[in-house]
Symmetry: C2
Subunit: 157 residues, 2 copies
DNA sequence: CTGGGATAGTTGTTCATACAACAACTCGCC
DNA sequence: GGCGAGTTGTTGTATGAACAACTATCCCAG
């Protein structure tokens, strides 16, 4: 076996993959049992709810949700069909479109919150405690920001 | 807007999703540019490489890779077709099968390691530093273990 | 004003992946 | 011998990514 296979960097990255996978599995299962939202849908709804006018441009939403633009088009198609969000034309740029939270979507989100918060309480807060959790969030935020518009040029290619 | 939408728990969980998404995107892009392995394939190879006999049972591999057994079946199909791994019958339990690293697979893994380690160095180690990284890994491990067969931390299992 | 390049979003195709449901099988026990 | 629990691996269905083609629109330079 190659010695680098046990490198701490690989282990740490693997841990991120495994923790993400395990948490999404259990939290997602609980969320879907209590509502009929998947984590992906929930994340879209909550991002819209937190945005001024309960709306975001398609491309902005794609970026926040880490989806491709075409992937987002289809996701919005399905959520629009479920009446949770709707598209609205952008008055200042007629190429653009907003995704807007509907009343149905806001209600679904609010109905899902108690169960979801409880789920996060048990699976995220309880194992770490509030203090270490905020440390974790800060580190993850650093990683995210650095991986997105990273100060160091990403592709040397 | 509902006040709970800004809850720290939701933010922390969202950060996990975003950091995971952003890192997988950039590290995966670099890995695929340097080799023709995806992150998923790489993770399978490295887990096999670390295991005695360079082999794992299908179900064990599925568990480690946070994949369902059915998802693993198809993944192993494609990787077997690419000659990176092969299936081998388990002599002691005729229901079972091993996934075994082939020489081709070991060579592909070794060829991928330098670029991948460099990628992790820049995107994971550099933003946090080695010390905070090990903290992060420890917290993620706690979350993972708790989310999997969750034995609560306060009382011994 | 006008021509042309850049941008926003949609659509179609193809492939990879996720899980649930399912069938086939082994093992251990009576 | 055979029942039943648990495990293993294969199918159906759905979602998401990458890529390219296409429309409509914006904006800038001349």
């Amino acid at each position: 076996m190659h010695p680098d296979c046990d490198d701490g960097r690989i282990t740490a990255f693997g841990m991120l993959l495994e923790a993400h996978g395990a948490l999404v599995a259990v939290v997602g299962r609980e969320l879907e049992a209590a509502t009929d939202l998947t984590i992906g849908w929930f994340e879209v709804l909550i991002r819209l709810a937190r945005s001024p006018g309960q709306r975001l441009r398609m491309s902005e939403l794609a970026s926040q949700a880490a989806l491709s633009t075409s992937g987002l088009t289809r996701l919005v198609d399905r959520m629009e069909e479920a009446r949770l969000i709707r598209r609205e034309a952008c008055p200042s740029d007629r190429r653009g479109a907003f995704a807007v939270l509907t009343d149905t979507g806001a209600a679904a989100l609010e109905a899902a919150l108690p169960a979801h918060l409880d789920s996060l309480e048990r699976h995220v807060v309880a194992p770490l405690g509030a203090e270490r959790l905020s440390e974790l969030a800060a580190m993850l935020e650093t990683l995210r920001d650095r991986a997105r518009g990273g100060p160091p040029p990403p592709p040397g290619r």
